[in-house]
């Protein structure tokens, strides 16, 4: 209850109350003098060790001393790092074995996501605006040109990295039992990467993208059974207006609908699908016993033939 300070109050309280009030205030002042400095000293002590604060410990679950335990915890307790096991084959850290291509691919995917999100701020997938937006991005947006360049080149780099990754995986026989399924996931991811890049090609709505996509999708015309120029397509009633290409483009030519479809596949559809497969891919890497090697060589003579 707040004290009523009415110096010229007309309805004064009883004298006892005033006395009590006075005593109370004195006491409070007294406590301020003694207790506050003590608390201040305490606070300084706490702040001297920031790693002991509640805020710190709530974030970092373990100590940072260079002990094997902490090394392991550093990985395990981190959502980003716990894709890795705590310990791995001593030779697996060698670059010459893995080429780091899987990691680089993933890193490029992240870079592409970030730059892509920023590009989306400036881009409208419509025939009227798309090309103009790219011009705007190049000429008006601070770092816009750099942003677009990075997105474009990272996309190309990612395709290269994915292909090299596959190359390496094959050469080290890493698809062999028990990793057969993960190889398949990888193949799907390769296809998705190509599709991601391909759908992005059209978005600037320039001649390059337009004709690349036209050439690309013209092949769909010839899909057997489903394309109007494909084997048995016409026999099945396929026309330019109902075949698989029409479905891909949302029209019989590369136009506004194709642009929109391309955009949605590029920005939402394929990234989500790819993310799901990536999660699967990484999960299976761990579940299938980490990366395949470098394993000790096996001699032909040591192979035990499985019973048929």
């Amino acid at each position: 209850m707040p004290e009523e300070k009415t110096p010229n109050g007309k309805n004064g309280k009883s004298a006892g109350l005033v006395e009590r009030l006075k005593a109370g205030v004195k006491e409070d002042l007294e406590s301020l003098k003694t207790e506050l400095p003590a608390k201040a000293k305490e606070q300084v002590e706490i702040l001297k060790k920031p790693t002991k604060t509640q805020v710190y410990t709530s974030i970092f679950r373990h100590k940072h001393d260079d002990t094997p335990r902490n090394r392991a915890l550093g990985v395990l307790s981190n959502v980003f790092l716990h894709l890795h096991p705590a310990k791995i084959n001593r030779d697996a850290v060698r670059y010459s074995y893995t080429w780091g291509m899987g990691g680089i691919t993933f890193y490029l995917f992240i870079v592409l996501t970030l730059t892509g999100v920023m590009l989306m701020f400036y881009y409208h997938p419509s025939k009227v605006q798309a090309f103009r937006d790219v011009l705007y991005l190049e000429h008006d947006v601070p770092f816009g040109k750099l942003l677009r360049n990075m997105h474009r080149w990272a996309a190309h780099l990612m395709v290269i990295a994915v292909e090299l990754h596959m190359f390496r995986v094959f050469l080290t026989g890493s698809y062999k039992k028990p990793r057969e399924f993960n190889w398949n996931v990888g193949v799907i991811l390769l296809v998705l990467t190509l599709l991601l890049s391909f759908t992005g090609y059209l978005l600037p709505d320039d001649q390059l993208g337009f004709w690349a996509v036209t050439v690309g999708t013209n092949m769909a015309r010839a899909t057997p059974l489903l394309g109007h120029e494909g084997p048995f397509g016409q026999q099945l009633g396929m026309t330019p207006y109902n075949d698989v290409r029409f479905g891909l483009l949302g029209g019989s030519i590369v136009d506004a609908n194709a642009l929109l479809r391309s955009y949605i596949w590029h920005c939402i559809g394929i990234p989500i699908i790819a993310s799901i497969f990536m999660v699967l891919h990484f999960w299976r890497v761990r579940k299938d016993g980490g990366i395949s090697g470098p394993a000790p060589v096996v001699l032909d003579s040591e192979v035990k033939e499985a019973k048929k």
Binding site: L135, E138, F143, L146
Partner: protein, 1094 residues
């Protein structure tokens, strides 16, 4: 690896990556900084421009200021300025003491107001309490507390307040009311003093303004203080993008969804809109040649154009093109890179930008001459490009004819339907159940009948426009149906071989025909031509013919002589060798009336109608503009030769004389041409027709059987925006892209290239057009093609300048990337101007008349007129303001202004050169009249103002002035008296009425030189006296005390002048033979004006 020794420590665990990290981090940081630097400078080269600009412009302004200072001193020395300055000085001195006093008072008041307002117990605080309390009372619901609060407020208000005044004294106000009153009074006082101060300062300031504006008005360049302001602006300039966002400034032109125009050109071209003239030389570093900066910093060379096209509203790129947004490099900004569709127009062709929006204008700039793009547009028609290439706006009569025919068909159908429906309705009405119903139905039937009458009238109208269109339809080349009558047969193959060998300036291009083709073509046209016979004429007087030829104005269009000797206009053929090719009898007919046709052509039957067709219907074989219906089907006939050549209304005798003269013009005898009897070989006819068709001869010539041939070339309306990939450089594609090699080797053609042999890459529209125009078959070079597939475009033997003009025109002919509102398609008087120029150019009006100040006519430069400028055709600079449009229409229709005596000029009978009869169609007549009215911004239709009837005294006064020796009117103006008119160099006054507009006449008398520069009529006849215009010579005595404008009096007098009056005056002037001119006097009055009393 096995060979290497195994290290002691486990390399996987012990190897340090620190150096790797250090290096890569350093590089990473460097990359980041590089990105920053690139973003800030690498991508922003304009910053360097702006720094440079700051230095150079500042230096320039400094030197400009010192020059301007001298100029200012000169102006300041002017006594008028001195007087203004004195006025200002004395006024400011007079007002100074009181101003000082008032300023002090105001300062004091301000302090006191502040004290009352903000001092202890200040007013503002108390007022806030009062208003808050008042609000609380107003919103209080309980009446008791309302009363209580009211009391409290009263108490509060009653409290006194003491204020410490600025002088330290304490002043007590008894209550709030008193305080408020005092405060308000102080404020009132302040307002009063401020107002007084304002009143006092105003006249002083006005004088100062007068002084300053005198200075700015009398200085050609900017004043030093203006320059100082500019310099201050430059010095505090920090580099930033300068851009024009057209949408911001011009929401009504640019719609939301249309392309946004954002032009940043001024980020480098900083000087474009500076109010001083900046040349590249002035912006160069001292002693250096203009560099890239100096050239970028010049001010716009045509500031007047910027006034019409305010850059804030138009931006830069709509005219110049380029990539207005780009700022990363000069090439990008100018759009000079592979993937920009609208690169900046080249320096030599910058006027292409006009064409982009002004494609509907024949003359782009109405107040200037020598515009390259206008010349290009003109050439496109003159040289017959339209014959093969469609271009929106050119020669659209055939298309219009088609659409008119279609409309008529539609209306006919509508009429039929209406008729049927009306019948139905009436039938229904007869059987209707109620009278109301019957009446309603009948009314509808009646309405339909009325509608049908309207439709009928509309059809009549359309028929007339068909006639107009047939009249308007012209061909660039002569009618080849007449060649049997017209030409020396043996001359034809020689001509076809290479027309420019016979006549260097001819419009007929060189088709590079082989001998076989020539044989076939000449055989076909010879055999398909008409075989009618011509009226035979005797040879006339060639000497007289020569005189007529040179004086009647033939040379306004035709030229004569070759090379240096060439004189006359370039609009029509050079006649130096006409005697070698032409048939005398045909020439006579042609000179007499070029439009006279051998046989009329029926577009419906698609054949030439002969006497036999007329005979069948029992009609006389007469066809002219009045008798233009087909005897077979009543359809409109083509009754004229489709030439723009007018009739000079020569007498038959004169026509024979002129023709006799022309037939003497030759270099070799007609009989010396090699025999060409193969032209009668019927076997060649079909082959010939094939080639005639192939080369599109019918585009420019009327040829039997090929009247309805279409154009064989590509449409060029939007040729300028054709993607470069669509322009076939054939085997020279790579060469053009890389530059350096010039494919044209023919020295004549090489000399046509405006920029000379290619040095840079020329793989662009400009390069294509220029090469194509210089040597049209250049893309066939090195190719092996059959004759029929070779490029057909003939060599037009153009000059460099002509090619530049045509290229400019084509470059600008684009599918407009701009919003449609940018197109110059006005609907008001400017549209009349736009349409009029097409007609004016079509008939080469400017060969004789000056329509734009400074424009040269063909006749002007000729020796004949050097000492006799008054013999030149009149200048038409203010024609619309000068003449009554109705009169003008009559005049244009028949310039002789007489139905019988046509062998003369209707207005300026003293001129040797003659205004010809062009037989304008109704359509073109209307366009021309509206054009002249619009050019002078005259209201249309024109309602003549009432001319006040002069009193007898006024008439007497006017007459005395008019006839005084001091007033020279009749010395030059014709009267109709042949003896007097021998010396006349000006029109008869009797023609003024009904022809001239009084306002214009008055203006003309005052300063004719300002209306028609160089006219014989002198300026300075009147002077300003007491606010009136009075005659500047000695005035007759009767003018004593007359206080109105003498000019006005004269105008009214002239407009009421009768032939008798004129004769009387003439006689009074003591002219030897003034009385004998009655016959011609009455003649002219009969044609001169609307019902001029005899």
């Amino acid at each position: 690896m096995p060979e290497k020794p195994i290290p002691e420590n486990d390399p996987v665990v012990s190897k340090s990556l620190a150096p790797h990290y250090v290096i890569s981090m350093v590089i990473l940081m460097a990359t980041f900084f590089w990105a920053m630097w690139d973003e800030d400078f690498g991508q922003r080269p304009w910053k360097a421009f702006q720094h440079e600009w700051k230095d150079r412009y500042s230096t320039f302004l400094k030197s400009a200021r010192s020059q301007s200072g001298d100029a200012q001193k000169e102006v300041e020395a002017n006594p008028d300025y001195q007087k203004l300055k004195q006025d200002y000085d004395s006024a400011s001195q007079n007002a100074a003491p009181r101003i000082q006093e008032l300023r002090e008072k105001l300062r004091d008041l301000a302090a006191r107001i502040l004290a009352v307002q903000d001092g202890t117990n200040h007013f503002t605080d108390r007022r806030a309490y009062v208003t808050a309390a008042t609000y609380a009372i107003e919103t209080e619901t309980s009446s008791s507390s309302k009363q209580r609060m009211q009391r409290n407020l009263e108490e509060y208000k009653a409290k006194p307040s003491t204020v410490e005044m600025p002088d330290g004294k304490l002043q007590t106000f008894k209550n709030f009311g008193e305080l408020e009153e005092a405060y308000n009074e102080l404020k009132n006082e302040r307002t009063q003093f401020s107002a007084e101060l304002g009143e006092l300062i105003k006249p002083v300031n006005e004088k100062k303004e007068l002084m300053d504006s005198f200075l700015t008005d009398h200085m050609v360049s900017l004043t030093p203080s203006q320059l100082t302001n500019l310099q201050n602006g430059v010095e505090v300039w920090t580099p930033k993008i300068r851009q024009i966002n057209v949408n911001e400034h011009n929401a009504d032109i640019v719609r939301e969804d249309s392309s946004q125009i954002v032009d940043r050109c001024e980020s480098c071209h900083m000087g474009i809109r500076e109010p001083v003239k900046l040349t590249a030389a002035a912006m160069s570093l001292p002693g250096k040649k203009p560099d890239v900066y100096a050239r970028a910093f010049t001010s716009h060379p045509e500031p007047d154009l910027l006034k019409i096209h305010d850059p804030d509203k138009f931006g830069c790129t709509p005219c110049h093109q380029g990539n207005g947004r780009a700022t990363t490099s000069v090439e990008k900004a100018h759009g000079n890179y592979e993937h920009w569709l609208w690169p900046v127009f080249p320096r030599a062709n910058f006027e292409a930008g006009c064409q982009v929006c002004h494609s509907a204008d024949m003359v782009v700039v109405t107040n200037d001459v020598g515009w390259v793009v206008s010349e290009g547009k003109d050439l496109f028609r003159q040289r017959g490009c339209v014959g093969c290439h469609r271009f929106e706006g050119y020669d659209k009569e055939p298309e219009d004819l088609l659409s008119v025919a279609q409309q008529i068909k539609q209306l006919d159908q509508e009429k039929k339907d209406n008729f049927k429906q009306a019948g139905d309705l009436m039938k229904q009405a007869d059987k209707a159940e109620s009278n109301e119903e019957a009446n309603r139905l009948n009314d509808r039937a009646v309405a339909l009948k009325v509608t049908n009458s309207k439709l009928d009238l509309r059809i009549v109208q359309l028929d007339r426009s068909t006639k107009s269109l047939l009249e308007d339809m012209k061909k660039v080349g002569p009618n080849l149906k007449d060649i049997r009558l017209k030409l020396n047969k043996n001359w034809i193959p020689v001509w076809l071989k290479k027309p420019s060998d016979f006549r260097a300036t001819t419009k007929m291009p060189n088709f590079r025909l082989s001998d076989d083709q020539i044989k076939a073509i000449s055989a076909f046209i010879w055999q398909s031509a008409l075989k009618d016979s011509l009226h035979k004429h005797k040879l006339g007087n060639a000497a007289h013919g020569k005189e007529l030829f040179e004086s009647r104005g033939c040379l306004a269009c035709h030229s004569i002589g070759e090379g240096d000797q060439l004189q006359g206009g370039t609009f029509a053929a050079n006649l130096t060798r006409v005697g070698e090719k032409a048939n005398y009898d045909y020439l006579v007919r042609w000179v007499h009336n070029a439009r006279e046709r051998t046989r009329p052509y029926c577009p419906l039957e698609k054949k030439d109608i002969g006497p036999e067709d007329y005979k069948k219907k029992g009609l006389p074989y007469v066809f002219d503009l009045e008798h233009s219906r087909c005897p077979n089907d009543g359809h409109e006939l083509q009754v004229q030769n489709m030439t723009v050549m007018p009739s000079l209304r020569l007498s038959p005798q004169d026509a024979e004389d002129v023709a006799s003269y022309l037939i003497t013009l030759k270099k070799q005898d007609p009989s010396s041409y090699a025999d060409a009897s193969f032209m009668d070989d019927p076997n060649l006819k079909d082959e010939g027709k094939k080639w005639v068709r192939h080369f599109g001869c019918a585009g420019c010539h009327e040829i039997s059987g090929l009247e309805e041939e279409g154009r064989i070339g590509t449409e060029l309306t939007i040729e300028g925006s054709k993607p470069i990939e669509r322009l076939d450089f054939a085997l020279f594609t790579e060469i053009a892209q890389r530059g350096g090699v010039e494919p044209i080797t023919d020295p004549e053609d090489l000399a046509r290239l405006p920029e000379g042999p290619a040095k840079q890459p020329w793989y662009d529209q400009k390069g294509f057009f220029e090469h194509k125009l210089a040597e049209p078959n250049i893309w066939d070079k090195g190719k092996d093609k059959p004759e029929t597939e070779k490029l057909r475009m003939p060599n037009l033997h153009l000059t460099k300048d002509q090619i530049r003009a045509l290229t400019t025109f084509l470059l600008g002919s684009q599918e407009n990337p701009l919003p449609p509102n940018y197109q110059y398609r006005p609907l008001d008087y400017r549209r009349d101007i736009q349409e009029g120029w097409w007609v004016v150019k079509k008939y080469n009006c400017m060969g004789c008349h000056q329509l734009i100040p400074g424009q040269k006519t063909s006749l002007m430069g000729m020796a004949r007129y050097k000492d006799a400028q008054e013999q030149l055709p009149p200048k038409l600079l203010t024609e619309g303001a000068r003449v009554d449009p109705e009169w003008l229409q009559r005049f244009l229709k028949n310039p002789s202004l007489s139905a019988t005596d046509t062998n003369r000029n209707g207005v300026r009978s003293y001129l040797q050169v003659r205004m010809p009869t062009f037989s304008f169609s109704e359509n073109e007549l209307g366009k021309l009249v509206r054009f002249f009215q619009a050019l002078s911004r005259q209201p249309f239709p024109y309602i003549p103002e009432e001319v006040p009837v002069l009193t007898a005294k006024e008439t007497e006064m006017a007459r005395s002035l008019f006839s005084s020796t001091a007033a020279p009117c009749l010395k030059c103006h014709a009267t109709g008296d042949p003896a007097h008119d021998r010396f006349a160099t000006a029109p008869n006054f009797l023609q003024a009425r009904g022809r001239l507009k009084p306002d214009w006449m008055e203006r003309w008398m005052l300063d004719p030189q300002a209306i028609a520069p160089g006219t014989s009529m002198p300026s300075g006849l009147f002077k300003r006296d007491n606010g009136h215009w009075v005659f500047s010579g000695p005035t007759p005595a009767s003018f004593q005390g007359y206080d109105k404008d003498h000019t006005k009096l004269l105008v009214d007098y002239i407009l009421q002048l009768t032939p008798e009056e004129q004769r009387r005056v003439g006689a009074a002037m003591g002219r030897s033979s003034a009385g004998s001119g009655s016959s011609s006097g009455s003649k002219s009055s009969g044609n001169g004006g609307r019902g001029a009393p005899e």
